[in-house]
Symmetry: C2
Subunit: 130 residues, 2 copies
C-alpha cells in the first residue's frame, strides 16, 4: 500500500472543523464537536490529528495543547513553524516570514549543528489587547 495521498473520512471531518475555527482547538473540544458526525472516541480524534500534523495541514500549539490549521502557504516543510500568542485573549497567529524561516533554517548551534525542524512560539499582547 502506498503512502496515502488523500484524507480519510475521520481526517477530513477533523480538518474541516479545525479549518473553520478562528482559534486553536483542543482535542476534546474537537471530539465534542464531531460526535454528531460519528466520531465517538478520543483516539479517533488523536489519530486524525496525528496524521494531519504529519502532513502539515494543521500544527500543534505545544504550549496550549491545541491545534490550528496551517495558514502559511509557504509552510511546505510543515515541520518548521512559528506562532505569536496573545497572553490575554489567547489569539494565535501563524507567522510567515521568509527572513525568520531562513534565519532559523540556517541557524547553527555551538557544534555547528543545523536543525531543519523547529517550533517557535512568541508570547505577547495582540493589537486588540494592548
Amino acid at each position: 500500500m502506498q503512502k496515502q495521498n488523500f484524507l480519510t473520512k475521520n481526517q477530513q471531518i477533523v480538518l474541516d472543523l479545525v479549518e473553520k475555527s478562528s482559534e486553536p482547538l483542543k482535542a476534546y473540544t474537537i471530539l465534542f464537536n464531531v460526535q454528531k458526525k460519528g466520531i465517538k472516541a478520543p483516539l479517533q480524534v488523536y489519530r486524525a490529528l496525528d496524521k494531519l500534523v504529519e502532513i502539515g495541514k494543521i500544527h500543534k500549539i505545544e504550549s496550549r495543547n491545541a491545534f490550528i490549521a496551517c495558514h502559511n502557504s509557504s509552510c511546505q516543510v510543515a515541520k518548521a513553524t512559528a506562532f505569536s500568542i496573545c497572553e490575554i485573549c489567547e489569539k494565535v497567529t501563524e507567522i510567515s516570514s521568509a527572513g525568520l524561516s531562513k534565519y532559523l533554517a540556517n541557524f547553527k548551534d555551538k557544534d555547528g549543528m543545523k536543525y531543519s525542524k523547529y517550533n517557535l512560539e512568541f508570547f505577547g499582547l495582540c493589537k486588540k489587547c494592548r
Copy 2:
C-alpha cells in the same frame, strides 16, 4: 509582604533534583523522587515547578512536558528560551547564542509587533545519534 526572594523548602527540593538531572524530568518522575523528602502530592510539585519556571531557575520543554534546569547564564530574562532536542535519544540542550536571542528579541511580525517572550525548540539528531 514582599516578593519572595529565596526558595522555600519544596521549591529547593524540586530544584535540587532537576539540577542534578542530566535530562529533562517529568512532573510525576519528580514526585516519585522527592517522596522520601516529604512531598506527597502532585500539586506540591506543580506549585514548586510553577515558581521555579517563573523565576527562571528551570524551563519547561513544552513539546515534552518536562522540566530542565537553566544552564544559560545569560538567560536572565527567563522568558526567552531556546533548546535543541534529539529525536532519537531525547537529549535536550539549552542554546545560548547571543546572535539568536538578539535576532528573536528584535524580530517584528507583519504588524511591526515585537515579542520579548518566546520559546524555541529545534528538533534533529544529536552528535551521538547521527
